[in-house]
């Protein structure tokens, strides 16, 4: 026990150290290199005006140390300010084109949840059928193999053209990309339920429905959940791309909007948020998976 605790402790320490090193590298790399030229001589009125139009403070230009890099990679301080600003009011709503990051996340999560749910409703029953019948398994396999690797963005124009509604198109893209791992894993899990268990069920003459729910489902549950976990990861990956393309609302739109403004700090902030939320979603499924795992 003491050993594991100290391992956990040491791992935590190492993580913190790595984070510190990364932040230190960031800080050093973004330190503005002071201009080589010494204090600029008196500026002409036109030069002062030009500097103002370029978004620089001509007064501070005289002292080279104060000249900061306006564009390029943000410094840690700039990054911190952006994070604080975004987190200070995550749920403001200024009309359709300007919402807080919390609201945008809610839109994305809603979309992912719905698309994912639809995918689960289709994939799990279908996976069951495929897994129970080797014939169907073999017949559908080529289709699944062809459709599985298609990128979400490749579906988008087709979806927009046929569905004629951008938000439903977004849902469709999440659906079509998250359906395959669930389908394949369910089919695999169902197909590899132990023969003995099925034979026992047969000798006890249980009905097909009872066999499916009381023998196959618990046996295949860990595999099915693995598929669901992979699918959730994919759905969360897809949503950002889809929203960047469709626009409107969501964390992907937030990224696009800040990209439009060439605001790297905000984009980095969004990336961090996407990562954290993705991790939480994955943790949720890890918990679920633990709950259904059994030991033979």
């Amino acid at each position: 026990m003491g050993f594991t605790r100290s391992l956990g402790f040491r791992a935590g320490l190492l993580s913190a150290l790595i984070l510190l090193v990364v932040l230190a590298i960031w800080h050093v790399a973004t330190l503005s290199s002071a201009p080589v030229a010494a204090a600029a001589p008196a500026l002409t009125p036109e030069q002062i005006e030009y500097a103002k139009l370029m978004g620089k403070d001509p007064a501070s230009m005289a002292s080279p140390a104060a000249a900061t890099a306006k564009s390029g990679f943000p410094t840690l301080a700039q990054m911190g300010a952006v994070v604080a600003k975004n987190l200070a009011s995550p749920f403001y709503d200024n009309g359709p084109n300007d919402k807080g990051v919390g609201l945008q996340l809610a839109y994305s999560l809603g979309r992912v949840g719905l698309g994912y749910l639809l995918a689960a409703l289709v994939a799990i029953p279908l996976g069951f059928v495929i897994g129970m019948s080797p014939l169907v398994y073999r017949a559908l396999d080529p289709f699944i193999q062809v459709l599985k690797p298609i990128s979400p963005l490749a579906w988008m124009p087709l979806a927009l053209y046929t569905i004629k509604d951008s938000s439903i198109s977004g849902l469709f893209v999440i659906f079509i990309c998250s359906v395959w791992p669930m389908l394949i894993n369910t089919a695999f899990g169902v197909a590899s339920v132990r023969r003995e268990w099925l034979n026992v069920a047969k000798t006890l003459e249980v009905t097909a429905l009872r066999r499916a729910f009381e023998v196959i489902l618990p046996a295949a549950a860990p595999t099915i959940l693995t598929g669901m976990r992979i699918s959730m990861g994919i759905a969360w990956l897809v949503i950002v791309a889809a929203e960047m393309l469709v626009g409107g609302t969501g964390i992907g739109y937030f990224v696009w909007n800040e990209w439009n403004n060439l605001s790297l700090p905000n984009v980095i902030f969004a990336i961090l948020v996407i990562g954290v939320v993705g991790m939480l979603l994955d943790l949720m499924f890890a918990k679920l998976q633990k709950a259904v795992t059994y030991v033979d």
């Binding site: 036109e46 030069q47 005006e49 030009y50 103002k52 139009l53 370029m54 978004g55 306006k70 564009s71 200024n94 009309g95 359709p96 084109n97 300007d98 124009p157 927009l160 053209y161 004629k164 509604d165 951008s166 960047m244 393309l245 469709v246 626009g247 409107g248 739109y253 696009w256 909007n257 800040e258 990209w259 439009n260 403004n261 060439l262």
Partner: protein, 459 residues
């Protein structure tokens, strides 16, 4: 202690965003200021005259015809004649009984976050749409292809277009043929050729062989003007340079990364490239064709037919907005209104430089070009014919093109001819003023001869 500051109000932040202390942000303050300006009798008179003048100009592009017509029928019946055609009829009815017969109140209008969309965007915070009895949502859209798709699937009721787009969509170039209309031109001028700072000494387009350029969309004035410009310098735009379709914000990022050598793009991205110190403004497109159209406001023919009064109300709102945007004294405030996150999401100083025409050119000079961007709403059909000649020139449309027929179908200048015929007037041939582009006069009466005069072309 005035009510403006009131430091003892518990719910009120001490630091107000604007100088007068009454608004949450500088943008809201500017919007309130502009709204106040729009409510003066002066402006109302000006904007009514502006709208009427636009319509009369639309009906009588040739001065001689207009004079003859007005003398023959007198002012009263001339106004009646104008009033009896779309969209004036409904406009005047609207003026008398406001909100009378609007078919569709809740509208969605798409826009791309560039300064070309200024009238369309600012009409929202300034309340010009609601004044016409419309509940309009202006929706920021991620790209031109998406604008096209959302117009085709009717998610948007009307939209910000690149002016060649409705022509292309109506003809079925790059999409299924669906009739679209241009109601007004959103902006004139307002584009520029921006080059990477590393090309400061390559100001002659003859030295551009092998350059990579970006434009925002194939069916755009940007593409046609860039092709025209390099071809005049003797370069073949398909062989000697590379032209890529790249969304405007990515143009600046690509310029920084050295992926492209320059772009002919919409503002504020030319100015943004200067602001980011990665590019300089080689020339304003105004120098190629002063007064050239760029973006447009339009919708589908079906929408106009189904909702004539709604369309008229929209049209009036956008024209009022254009009237406001044309006045130089309003430009600085407009920049404040449209710069925030909900609209263009750009530094205010960048927008202000574009709109006021006092800008840093990226080479260390401050330039003063008040008409760098302008908002003349006339959808002259000869502009459409020019776009069609360029589409044909570069192989975007093949075969015989009935220039005038398409131009008149798409560029809505009212159905004036019918009325004039009924008044026994000699019908003018349409709205075909001539233009001068890079010193060459374009005669819309002879598009094929114009096309044949180019040394470099595909058709």
């Amino acid at each position: 202690m005035s009510e403006h500051f009131d430091p003892y109000d518990a719910d009120r932040p001490l630091m107000m965003g604007c100088s007068c202390g009454r608004h949450r942000s500088g943008a809201e303050h500017a919007a309130a200021e502009l709204r106040a300006r729009s409510e003066t009798a002066d402006f109302e008179l000006y904007s009514n005259e502006f709208i009427e003048a636009s319509l009369v100009k639309a009906l009588f592009p040739q001065d001689a015809v207009r004079r003859r017509f007005l003398r023959a029928v007198g002012k009263g019946s001339a106004m009646a004649a104008i009033a009896s055609v779309l969209p004036v009829a409904s406009l005047q009815a609207m003026a008398q009984e406001k909100g009378g017969a609007i078919e569709k109140k809740d509208l969605k209008i798409g826009f791309i976050p560039i300064t070309c969309a200024t009238p369309l965007i600012m009409a929202h915070p300034l309340g010009f749409y609601s004044k016409q009895g419309l509940n309009v949502e202006v929706v920021k859209t991620a790209g031109w292809a998406l604008i096209r798709d959302k117009m085709l699937n009717k998610e948007y009721d009307a939209t910000h277009f690149l002016s060649p787009m409705p022509l292309a969509i109506s003809m079925g170039a790059g999409s299924n043929a669906t009739p679209m209309n241009v109601a007004t031109i959103q902006n004139t001028n307002g584009q520029a050729i921006t080059l990477s700072v590393k090309h400061k000494d390559k100001r002659d387009p003859k030295d551009w062989k092998g350059f990579k350029f970006a434009v925002p969309f194939e069916y755009s004035m940007h593409n046609f003007l860039l092709r025209y410009y390099v071809a005049e310098a003797g370069l073949d735009p398909d062989r000697d340079i590379q032209i890529r379709v790249v969304p405007p914000p990515e143009m600046v990022a690509n310029l920084r990364a050295g992926n492209i050598d320059g772009f002919l793009g919409p503002d504020p991205f030319n100015q943004r490239a200067v602001f980011e110190e990665v590019g300089f403004i080689h020339l304003l497109t105004k120098e190629l064709w002063n007064g050239h159209p760029c973006c447009a406001f339009g919708t589908s023919t079906e929408f106009i037919q189904k909702n004539p009064n709604t369309f008229a109300a929209l049209y009036r709102a956008v024209l009022t907005s254009a009237a406001m945007a044309r006045e130089a004294k309003n430009r600085e405030l407009i920049a404040k209104v449209i710069a925030p996150q909900a609209y263009l999401n750009q530094p205010e100083t960048v927008i202000a430089q574009v709109l006021t025409g006092k800008f840093a050119d990226g080479l260390g000079n401050v330039k003063n070009v008040p008409d760098r961007a302008d908002f003349d709403p006339m959808p002259w059909q000869s502009m459409a014919v020019w776009m069609l000649t360029q589409m044909k020139r570069w192989g975007y449309v093949k075969g015989d093109v009935n220039y005038k027929q398409i131009a008149e179908k798409v560029f809505l200048l009212t159905d004036a001819k019918k009325v004039m015929k009924s008044l026994d007037m000699k019908v003018p041939d349409g709205a075909y003023p001539k233009f001068t582009i890079m010193g060459k006069v374009f005669d819309p009466e002879k598009p094929d001869a114009y096309l044949a005069g180019f040394a470099i072309k595909r058709a």
